[in-house]
């Protein structure tokens, strides 16, 4: 089996997408669907949680999408959780199972899974931030013995906006997972917390000495969550974030994803807070 990134490097052009088949599409919410993607049989994605791929649709364009499935469950396929929001993602939502897309990647730096070993892991997901985090969560759950506590804080706009509800159900039943949910706009059946994601911090107690926090959400969320994490004394090097940016090439050339001096597509999209703390454009 050939690694996808090697296939790409050795191809005639780094901008040539590899054709892949949409094996299945599962609608998750009104705006988000999960795309199960199948690569050619001799190629494996071989990704790290937190990395992304460039998805292309001929005639429409390319868009960077984070990988939602864990390497532990790849088995020839991988999954992308995509919100219908732009040209490419809009066109993706009109696809049917069996249609083809182009894939380049995986690109960027993922989360340092090795570094998390033995630690309690505090996942903080806001909205679509659950898309890349699910990759890491499932990777951790599939190697559950390598980690301490698994704490998941997840906030969405409404109960209907929660992603991966089936898996949320499974996680909530596991004794070795602490799942805390909140929504801004509850419905009549909602039994969990109401309010922004930071309200969930009152529900958990963590041991800062041995906790890694992994935070992914909309731009506005980071500074508020980081404030909470600093209050409970999690070291800056143990706070990991993932940034969305405009990306056209994925290979550190086109310039769109630059955040101060860093190319998000190369140095990120996963960053330790200690790496980006002083950078104004990280939290713009």
């Amino acid at each position: 089996m050939k690694r996808m990134i090697e296939e790409l490097r050795q191809s005639e052009s780094i901008y040539m997408p590899v054709p892949a088949r949409i094996a299945e599409i599962r609608q998750l919410t009104e705006l988000e669907s999960l795309f199960v993607v199948e690569l050619p049989h001799d190629v494996t994605l071989h990704h790290v949680p937190g990395q992304f791929v460039q998805v292309s649709l001929l005639g429409v364009g390319e868009a960077p999408i984070s990988i939602s499935s864990s390497p532990s469950r790849s088995n020839g396929i991988f999954e992308l959780c995509v919100r219908r929001v732009g040209d490419v993602t809009g066109a993706m939502h009109r696809l049917k199972a069996g249609n083809m897309v182009g894939i380049r990647g995986p690109f960027g730096r993922g989360f340092p899974v090795q570094q998390f070993r033995g630690k309690d892991i505090l996942f903080v997901a806001g909205g679509l931030g659950m898309a890349p985090l699910r990759s890491l969560i499932n990777e951790v759950l599939d190697e559950r013995g390598n980690y301490g506590r698994v704490i998941i804080l997840y906030g969405a706009r409404s109960p209907d906006d929660l992603l991966f509800r089936e898996e949320l159900g499974e996680w909530s039943e596991r004794e070795d997972v602490e799942l805390h949910l909140t929504v801004d706009c509850p419905d009549s059946r909602w039994e969990h917390c109401v309010g922004v994601i930071t309200t969930l911090f009152a529900e958990v107690e963590v041991f800062p000495r041995n906790t890694a926090a992994v935070v992914v959400g909309p731009p506005i969320m980071y500074k508020f969550v980081i404030r909470e994490l600093e209050k409970i004394h999690i070291p800056k090097g143990n706070i990991w974030l993932s940034f969305e940016r405009r990306m056209k090439c994925g290979v550190g050339k086109c310039g769109h994803c630059q955040l101060n001096h860093l190319y998000t597509c190369q140095s990120g999209p996963s960053f330790a807070y200690s790496e980006v703390e002083g950078l104004q454009e990280a939290f713009s």
Binding site: R9, S11, E12, S13, I14, Y15, M16, P17, P19, S56, L57, L58, G59, V60, G61, E62, A63, R83, V85, G86, D87, V88, T89, M100, G102, P218, P219, E244, R245, R246, K248, C249, V251, G252, K253, C254, G255, H256, Q258, L259, N260, H261, Q266, Q280, E281, S284
Partner: protein, 351 residues
């Protein structure tokens, strides 16, 4: 090479290569394919666009495909090209591009074109415009990067053969002669005398630039520039070291074939850092101007060890509201000095 045989040489080249060079057009200079060697203008002030356009074209097809997906192929299709009469600042610009497109992931489209492009530079013996500051940037000469280097000796050109590629351009041409020791003395004298004609235009030495920019990150000057900048993106379009690009898909009218095209983009325009959801990560004009200067003067220095500005002055000449690197950098320096409590009066006395 006696000047009289230059056109013979160019015509010889034209048999094998597309030959481009600076020509005069509407009172300005542009790099253009030479139809007649008479058009070639080797004494000129900076062209509207740098010769970068032959290596990183304004618009380039990366991939051709059929919309139904039955065919898809990379498009790498290169015309062997000789660029004549490049100023050394532009040579330094290409050196930076080489570094960018060879670092990390190879960009095969760039590399293929670059391999088939021959750079012939000419020594500038005088300054060109008030906007240029090549003396400060160390780009008023170039020891490498070009394949051949010309020096105007009056009745002849001295040619320095810098690379094997350059050698190839002279192969079989018998009207150029090896330089004699007396020629070498003359060349050295001409080169040595030129420096007096090149003034420093920055008030500080360039090695201080990355540090100055770092200290000036929160300067009010960026807001002042943001107030007047029109976000037209001209400064980046004419820059020999700007390479940011956008990639878009285009379909033909019959909806049968399509292509993926890259074209020059600009960090100065509004949507450059905007994502699909509408969030703009560099919304403010001040932040965009700051990014441009930080990137040229600090980020690239840190990342690849090269300053991202070659001092050609094109951005200054083309700016509609007169934002010029000389003024911006000197102003940052002055404010930094003032902050340090050094009186401006003292600086003038010292100067």
């Amino acid at each position: 090479m006696p000047k009289g045989v230059l056109s013979d040489w160019v015509e010889r080249l034209q048999r094998h290569y597309r030959v481009v060079g600076p020509v005069e057009k509407h009172g300005q200079y542009v790099f253009e394919e030479l139809t007649s060697t008479d058009d070639l203008c080797l004494v000129y002030h900076p062209t509207v666009l740098p010769p970068k356009k032959y290596i990183v074209p304004p618009r380039e097809t990366l991939v051709n495909y059929r919309l139904d997906g039955t065919h898809i192929a990379a498009n790498i299709n290169v015309k062997p090209t000789v660029i004549l009469g490049m100023h050394t600042c532009d040579i330094h610009g290409v050196k930076l591009l080489d570094k960018i497109f060879d670092t990390g992931f190879d960009d095969q489209h760039y590399q293929a074109r670059r391999e088939q492009t021959y750079l012939v530079s000419i020594e500038c013996l005088d300054t060109c415009t008030d906007d240029s500051f090549c003396r400060d940037m160390g780009t008023a000469s170039a020891t490498d990067g070009q394949d051949l280097h010309f020096i105007d000796l009056g009745e002849a050109y001295a040619i320095n053969v810098v690379t094997r590629k350059g050698e190839r351009l002279l192969e079989g041409f018998h009207h150029a002669f090896d330089a004699l020791p007396s020629d070498m003395n003359r060349i050295n004298r001409i080169l040595s005398e030129k420096w007096a004609r090149f003034a420093y235009r920055l008030d500080f030495d360039i090695y201080l630039l990355p540090e100055l920019l770092e200290k000036s990150y929160n300067s009010d000057l960026w807001n002042e520039l943001g107030e007047i900048c029109l976000a037209c993106g001209m400064c980046t379009q004419v820059c020999p070291t700007c390479y940011c690009f956008d990639v878009t898909d285009e379909a033909d009218l019959a909806l049968e074939n399509g292509k993926r095209v890259r074209r020059w983009d600009s960090c100065q325009i509004h949507q450059f850092a905007m994502v699909a959801g509408g969030h703009n990560f560099r919304e403010r004009l001040a932040a965009r101007q700051r990014h441009r200067f930080m990137r040229k003067g600090k980020y690239q220095m840190d990342a690849i060890g090269m300053v991202g500005c070659v001092g050609c002055g094109r951005c200054a000449s083309s700016c509609l509201v007169n934002i010029t690197p000389i003024n911006v950098l000197n102003e940052l320096y002055a404010r930094d000095m003032a902050r340090k409590g050094v009186e401006l009066m003292d600086r003038e006395v010292l100067a």
